[in-house]
């Protein structure tokens, strides 16, 4: 139904743009990762030195480990918060469903910065939470671990990414035909058995998508550590950021970025594969 010129006309511009502004930059980044900086000068020598540095340097490995740890914690906490919420909204809320859904969506789009800043003001030694606790005489002095710690980073990122996990989980729960739940009851399975054997398995694709989102975005986050993390919570993206800033070593920074990029692509492949296996109908 569509002529060849029509198809070429619509495909060409986005292809060109994407090629120019996505493919080429990634290729450049890859190229940079194979170059070197010596004495503050960028040398276009081809070498794997940066990758070697990355994987043998204890400092970098420790940061990588901490980053993975934080990202995994954020993913888990987000799931623990958003799955029951999504289930409640999809299966139990009746008249208020639409309203509640909007209420969950709204904070999703409120500025990252605003939310990070909010936690900063709450968790500090002079912050609102400490003030609240002291006001109620629960504590007598400021609790210091709240801010400038990995705890604060996990807390803030969980707060930011819970709605991100909620969306796909809710969508996949909504897609489950209610008749399947009725059929399960009809055949003798109670509410708990029905949840475990019908609802949970069928919601896995959405859960997988949301979990990947939360994990990957937390992995590459550099703002939360700067806002609420302090020096004990440096994440891998902070290292990259400083390598492109004060520490001036673009090749090394590019090498780390390439690793993150490859990890994301690998995860995407994996989830796509799994989704195909688990997505039904």
């Amino acid at each position: 139904m569509y002529s060849r010129s029509y198809k070429s006309l619509v495909s060409a511009p986005p292809l060109l743009w994407v090629g120019l502004f996505l493919l080429v930059p990634y290729a450049l980044m890859f190229a940079h990762s194979l170059w070197l900086v010596r004495d503050g000068v960028l040398l276009h020598q081809w070498t794997l030195e940066n990758y070697r540095k990355l994987f043998t340097n204890y400092v970098y490995l420790e940061v990588l480990w901490r980053t993975a740890h934080i990202a995994a914690s954020v993913m888990l906490c987000s799931i623990l918060l958003s799955y029951p919420l999504a289930y409640y909204l999809s299966f139990r809320a009746r008249a208020r469903k639409e309203l509640l859904y909007q209420l969950v969506i709204v904070p999703l789009w409120v500025s990252y910065l605003v939310r990070g800043y909010a936690w900063k003001t709450i968790l500090g030694s002079d912050g609102v939470l400490n003030g609240f606790l002291q006001y109620l005489h629960i504590t007598h002095g400021p609790v210091s671990f709240l801010l400038y710690s990995p705890f604060a980073v996990v807390l803030t990122l969980t707060h930011i990414y819970t709605p991100f996990v909620f969306l796909p989980v809710y969508a996949s729960l909504e897609h489950i035909p209610r008749q399947l739940v009725e059929a399960s009851h009809d055949l003798g399975a109670g509410p708990l058995a029905t949840f475990c054997r019908v609802i949970l398995p069928l919601s896995l694709p959405g859960l997988l998508a949301g979990a990947t989102f939360a994990f990957v975005l937390s992995l590459g986050d550099f703002l939360a550590p700067l806002l609420v993390g302090g020096s004990s919570s440096t994440m891998i993206a902070n290292i990259v950021q400083s390598l492109f800033g004060a520490a001036y070593d673009w090749p090394l920074g590019a090498a780390i970025s390439v690793c993150i990029l490859l990890l994301v692509i690998a995860l995407l492949f994996l989830t796509e594969r799994l989704e195909k296996r688990w997505a039904f109908k």
Binding site: L180, L187, G190, L202, W278, F280
Partner: protein
């Protein structure tokens, strides 16, 4: 037709399996079911027949447990059924959309209810095999529902319900998604299956031919109330109301008056020993025949009419006959070639069934 005593099976039967007593269901301001009294006998094939909106599916869902009646009670085997959640009732449903679990294969689907109720793996496997054999789906045991055709899915849904040996099987328009030929085939298989397993079937459909072919009894629902409950032959030969007469099969509605022992309907007259009143009669098209020699026994009515339309149907013809005075009757005669002009027709008086006020 509401608040009449329970419409049950033939007298002399044992205690009914299922009793619906004064069941009503309201959704907000809408009254979907009004004061239903019904008894279903063990082992019978009862069809709930009605148009969309008549409440038949709602009634089914009440029995399955997915809805609660607004008032009234449901009893099975003498015990209150409406107090139990669906997973505790010995009732299973075959859904209109089949509702097969997409993430389980056929074998796992069929065994679902058994596993949920703690039946051992060995016994489950055995009973699943039997059930699949019963619906001729053994070869598809490892397939996922997405790979099956509509007819195949329907059989699996049936097996999944039957394998649990319920006391009552509910079928919600299970054949409506199938094409005509497959439908006819499944009807006959379903009937044979019910005979074989002896389980009580409660079948919902809007297709009156299907209801007549399959049922031991038909319960005709109209706007939430039971219009008539009787066997197919009884309901066809003696419809209680004009609605029933027109919904099941085709009929001619004759409106007229009884005066001094004579019925006057347009140009038709015959003797009737009843009080003076206005009356409506149902006369089936096939009860009328072409008069060959103009003779008429005194148990018959004769009339003359012009043939306005003739629809050929293979074995028979459906004629539209104008008797003059604005009265048009439909007549079904065996195939006889093209007819024109005026002809004479006769029908037995007893075939004009008097209806209650329409």
């Amino acid at each position: 037709m509401s608040s009449t005593p329970p419409l049950g099976p033939a007298p002399g039967a044992e205690a009914p399996l299922l009793e619906l007593r004064n069941i009503a269901k309201r959704f907000g301001p809408r009254e979907v079911l009004k004061s239903i009294f019904l008894e279903i006998a063990a082992g019978e094939f009862l069809t709930l027949l009605g148009e969309s909106g008549s409440g038949k599916t709602t009634l089914l869902r009440l029995i399955a447990g997915f809805e609660q009646p607004t008032s009234g009670e449901i009893r099975m085997g003498g015990e209150g059924l409406d107090l139990l959640p669906p997973y505790k009732r010995k009732v299973n449903t075959v859904f209109q959309s089949y509702a097969l679990f997409p993430h389980l294969n056929v074998r796992e689907n069929v065994g679902y209810g058994l596993r949920a109720n703690g039946v051992s793996k060995n016994e489950t496997a055995e009973r699943v095999e039997q059930a699949l054999a019963m619906v001729k789906m053994q070869d598809f045991a490892n397939a996922r529902p997405a790979r099956l055709s509509g007819g195949q899915q329907q059989r699996v849904a049936l097996a999944r319900a039957l394998v649990n040996r319920p006391e009552l099987l509910l079928l919600d328009e299970p054949l409506s998604a199938l094409d005509a030929n497959l439908r006819k085939q499944m009807q006959s298989e379903l009937k044979a299956l019910q005979r074989e397993v002896g389980i009580t079937f409660l079948f919902v459909t809007h297709d009156q031919e299907e209801a007549m072919a399959l049922s031991d009894r038909i319960a005709l629902l109209r706007e939430g109330a039971l219009e008539q409950v009787a066997s197919p032959r009884e309901i066809y030969a003696h419809p209680a109301t004009a609605y029933t007469a027109q919904f099941i099969g085709q009929t001619n509605l004759l409106r007229g008056e009884v005066r001094n022992g004579i019925v006057n309907c347009g140009v038709l007259r015959w003797p009737l020993e009843e009080a003076d009143a206005s009356a409506t009669f149902s006369l089936r098209p096939e009860a009328i025949r072409l008069s060959v020699d103009g003779a008429r026994r005194n148990t018959e009515v004769k009339f003359r009419g012009a043939i306005r339309q003739q629809l050929y149907a293979g074995a028979s013809e459906l004629l539209e006959v104008d008797t003059g005075a604005g009265q048009v009757l439909r007549v079904r005669v065996p195939a006889c070639g093209l007819l024109t002009g005026e002809h004479e027709f006769v029908f037995p008086i007893t075939d004009a069934v008097r209806l209650k006020d329409a």
